[in-house]
Symmetry: C2
Subunit: 251 residues, 2 copies
């Protein structure tokens, strides 16, 4: 069943008229009809069943019924900071990380990142990625849309991305069989605490960058004994956090 986000609270409302993008998407593209239903998640993360009552030329009305649905957000705010990688990996990462529950995605220029976005490009690229995050959040039945942004340097990410725990996934740590940090942090993390993890580009992080992150409170961790590609590592991380905090919680 389709889902859309609504930018306001729908508390107490029994009907809603939708136009613009929602009309275009649900009526014109998906061809939903009278009596068809879809989910609306409002700005308070409340879920409503919307049933189409009437369809006009440019808008349509729905009846709204608040309806509980399983809570589809991670217990913690989990953010990823990914150095820019090749080709369209940023789109893949944005889509998949959104499915996996990420709260915020920050793409940034690191030493070995082959790409950087000049200021003319940033706005257009971030807008496109934010759209990808929106669609993925709708399809995954999330209760919020992750924020996507760009930072011109590692230092800028360190200065602006706050979190209770900060990790850096470092290939050298994996080669040295570092296997405990991620699990320790995931297990000690309390609900409402936040976690930020840094991921390098195809060429990895420099030793200087690792030191810079360490000096800013980042803990170096491995993600298992196999070398993971730049776009796979964040997905492993998010899956592991979900497994620990959502599936293993009673053990």
């Amino acid at each position: 069943m389709q889902q859309i986000f609504w930018p306001d609270s729908l508390r107490g409302q029994t009907h809603l008229t939708l136009a613009g993008n929602e009309f275009q998407h649900l009526i014109k593209v998906l061809r939903l009809k009278i009596n068809d239903r879809f989910w609306i998640v409002d700005h308070e993360k409340q879920t409503y069943q919307a049933q189409i009552q009437s369809v006009g030329r440019q808008d349509f009305t729905v009846q709204l019924v608040p309806q509980l649905r399983i809570h589809s957000e991670l217990p913690n705010s989990v953010k990823i900071a990914c150095a820019l990688s090749k080709k369209d990996k940023v789109e893949w990462i944005t889509q998949k990380a959104t499915e996996l529950g990420v709260t915020e995605i920050i793409f940034f220029k690191s030493h070995y990142a082959v790409k950087k976005w000049d200021s003319a490009q940033v706005s257009k690229k971030v807008t496109r990625l934010q759209q990808i995050a929106l669609h993925a959040a709708q399809q995954s039945w999330r209760l919020q849309v992750p924020q996507v942004r760009y930072a011109a340097s590692l230092a800028q990410v360190l200065a602006t991305a706050a979190a209770d725990y900060r990790l850096v996934a470092y290939e050298e740590a994996a080669k040295n069989n570092e296997q405990a940090q991620l699990a320790q942090i995931c297990q000690q993390m309390q609900p409402q605490q936040s976690l930020l993890a840094f991921f390098g580009p195809e060429g990895g992080f420099t030793v200087e960058e690792i030191n810079q992150m360490r000096q800013n409170g980042c803990i170096v961790c491995g993600l298992g004994p196999r070398i993971l590609r730049a776009e796979t590592a964040p997905l492993y991380f998010l899956s592991a956090v979900s497994y620990q905090t959502e599936l293993s919680k009673d053990f």
Copy 2:
């Protein structure tokens, strides 16, 4: 550092001459030179440092030194059976699942799978996917290359893919907040035991298919509260198994 697989045992050998594909890849394409090193993993999963001694017109010789490296295979044999999905998702799944440690990948035709491979296509497609698995295994520094194969039906997979534990990732279970089975199985699984998980296509599995799998000993499980795409679900599963069996083992 590059890695290649060698199809025989190299036990006791101090030198090796390589030609054919290895010469083409390492000397012609990657332009490795005298004194450059790379890893060789032999058929017994032993790791050797190979250092180039001389380069001829069609072959080259290396000195071999056995060298320990962290064990990069999952403690269990973990297989995934994925219903055929759209476009080039099968290539993406093959590559990423290999990075994440999978032992065997079986693509099969399910009810809602939009594609099937006719017998003329199967051989060519499987060969291509096996190559993708080989390259991903080399890049991830795995000790073995996953097997990739095709089955014409769910029944065929059930009849031919043996495992100590068999799971099916079912969206309906997730919507009903099934959150315990995957963790329970991952925690009770002993080393050397095997695990097989089924993943549906974009349209999901039919109720009949789920029943068929249940009757064949498959346990239905959720993969967290968010809906995952057909190509994301197997990666979540493999990451979760790695996290449980490789990173959480001391807790």
